[in-house]
């Protein structure tokens, strides 16, 4: 199936060495390991696939219920259920290698050592084109505040991962912070090749009848169009404060949404929750971007990046 599909050079992007035929990636945790959506989406036409967050060992994840719908979005507390980095390399990568698409491994750890360990195993795995480092997980040692909420911890995670691999390292930022630019600059200085944002906003939903949380885990991560204004704001702020590429996401449903993120300063985008409500969303976004370029007589999608007039 490794066939080159008709691609549009005007859409191609290079995110710190990660070359993609277009700026449209799938967001971690919303597209499984690629195969789940292969009946809907021609994976060859995607820019990149960011796989479900990988930890050193397989993880059970949180007890159900794990998801709940909210106004214009959803909460999830999947708890990073995953098959572990080894099984990923052995069982999932071979499938992904059959496609002409960038594969980005999203990684996750509960300690610096775990981050480093996962990165090390992926460093030499054939068919992995970049790492995306999820720093939103609770830092157990630091009282549960996430690595990503502390500039020092986020920088240290970045350094440890960079030390293990030559692959481009994208650090994925959490929005649950007072000033996201502080974290972005900290990971940039620690060597991050790019940043991606936003991860989910922490939220809670309550079942009034039982007076229990709708999620067994109590809180969960909010995603979908409801968070788009917050995501756009943060992408715009971060794009102005760092000089490395920025990957934007949060509530993207359409080409219009994706292009807004690029105007705000994103060099590429990830599409998450939208896949659930429209499995064809990524394809429609790629086509919509092509149309936009044509209608606006633009030679390259890069021309719109960061062009917000304020």
């Amino acid at each position: 199936m490794k066939k080159k599909s008709k691609t549009d050079p005007a859409l191609s992007v290079d995110i710190a060495g990660l070359k993609m035929k277009n700026p449209v990636m799938t967001a971690s945790g919303t597209f499984g390991y690629g195969e789940e959506y292969a009946d809907y989406v021609d994976l060859n036409r995607l820019g990149g696939i960011v796989v479900k967050g990988l930890s050193l060992k397989p993880r059970l994840g949180n007890p159900p219920p794990r998801i709940m719908e909210t106004a214009g979005g959803m909460l999830n507390a999947v708890g990073l259920q995953n098959i572990g980095v080894e099984a990923f390399i052995a069982e999932k990568l071979p499938f992904l290698r059959r496609y002409d698409v960038a594969v980005i491994a999203n990684i996750y750890g509960e300690s610096y050592a775990e981050y480093a360990g996962v990165a090390k195993q992926l460093a030499s795995a054939p068919g992995v084109h970049a790492l995306e480092v999820n720093v939103s997980c609770p830092n157990v040692k630091q009282g549960g505040l996430s690595f990503g909420a502390d500039p020092k911890a986020a920088a240290e995670v970045t350094r440890r991962v960079k030390a293990e691999t030559d692959l481009p390292v994208i650090v994925k930022l959490t929005p649950n912070v007072t000033d996201i630019t502080v974290i972005a600059r900290a990971v940039e200085q620690a060597g991050a090749d790019a940043v991606s944002l936003i991860n989910t906003l922490t939220g809670l939903a309550i079942d009034l009848r039982t007076r229990k949380p709708h999620l067994k885990n109590v809180t969960g991560g909010l995603s979908g169009p409801a968070v788009k204004p917050v995501a756009l704001r943060m992408v715009w702020q971060v794009a102005q404060s760092v000089s490395i590429p920025v990957v934007g996401m949060g509530g993207i449903l359409s080409a219009r949404d994706a292009l807004e993120f690029m105007v705000a300063g994103a060099n590429a985008v990830e599409v998450g929750t939208a896949n659930f409500i429209n499995p064809l969303a990524t394809m429609e976004i790629v086509v919509g971007m092509q149309q936009y370029l044509k209608q606006n007589r633009l030679k390259n999608i890069a021309e719109i990046v960061g062009t917000l007039q304020v």
Binding site: G29, G32, E36, G73
Partner: protein, 271 residues
């Protein structure tokens, strides 16, 4: 592997009982013949409130020249089903499917027993009809236990009587059929069913499934269809899991949409 996505056209959408609707949807011929127990994700294109698609078992399936049709039997439970209930003939509905694994049918078994609680009749009714369609002997050998809270909620009975040899029905309040729980009605007959020569299929509310689990010795094989809230419906989000014993006997979470919705009752962990 997952199914695919289609624009369906509502052909009928009738309130067959108070709050229970039967919707017939015309689909392009590409829509795969579903296995009993498979489901679809339905939504109204462009509508973002409710936000997620909703899962429904395929209750009936037919194929003609140039197209096919499915039927959904559904209960108005909240916002999404209320909007579905308001669709008129000719409305469009986005259908993704058929999804999930479905029931594995073993027609060599002497006894085929279906146990349905409430709207749980939906996937089992397709199973009964498929048994009749593919093998009429098996259909005559089918026994169905069908229960509901009240007579008004006991839907699908006529259909079942037409396709199955033996239908036992009951309601919690005795307004239709016997006044008993469906699991109790089944338990009474349990000794008639030799574990080695019986295939059990069940679908219904969690308490029903749970009490079945308590009832059945390990020798019985019972395939149950489960319900969980879903987001993707195709196995990509890990949102819809249920706790099971894996092959090694360890606890694991399995996705109802992709690893199910049909599971072996024995594997389910009740925590």
């Amino acid at each position: 592997m997952a199914g695919n996505i289609y624009i369906g056209e509502v052909f009928r959408n009738d309130e067959i009982r108070r709050d229970f609707f039967l919707m017939k949807i015309r689909l392009p011929v590409q829509f795969d013949r579903p296995r009993p127990g498979q489901f679809v994700m339905a939504r109204i294109a462009g509508l973002q409130d409710p936000f997620l698609s909703r899962p429904f078992s395929i209750y009936a399936y037919g194929r003609g020249r140039g197209g096919c049709a499915i039927e959904l039997l559904y209960r108005v439970a909240g916002k999404g089903t209320r909007i579905l209930a308001g669709l008129i003939r000719g409305s469009q509905v986005e259908i993704s499917g058929p999804l999930g694994t479905g029931y594995t049918v073993d027609p060599t078994k002497k006894n085929i027993v279906l146990i349905a609680g409430g709207i749980g009749i939906a996937p089992l009714s397709l199973l009964a009809r498929e048994l009749r369609r593919t093998n009429s002997r098996a259909a005559d050998a089918v026994t169905v236990y069908l229960g509901a809270r009240t007579g008004e909620a006991l839907v699908g009975l006529e259909e079942l009587k037409a396709s199955c040899g033996n239908v036992i029905f009951c309601t919690d309040d005795g307004t239709l059929g016997e006044k008993t729980l469906v699991t109790k009605a089944f338990r009474r007959d349990l000794k008639k069913y030799d574990p080695a020569d019986t295939a059990l299929y069940a679908c219904g509310p969690k308490p029903m499934i749970r009490s079945l689990a308590g009832l059945l010795k390990d020798e019985y094989v019972c395939q149950v269809s489960l319900e969980e809230r879903m987001a993707c419906g195709v196995g990509a989000c890990a949102g819809c899991v249920v706790a099971v014993k894996d092959a090694a006997g360890n606890k694991a979470y399995r996705r109802v949409c992709a690893d199910g919705p049909v599971f072996n009752l024995k594997d389910i962990l009740w925590e």
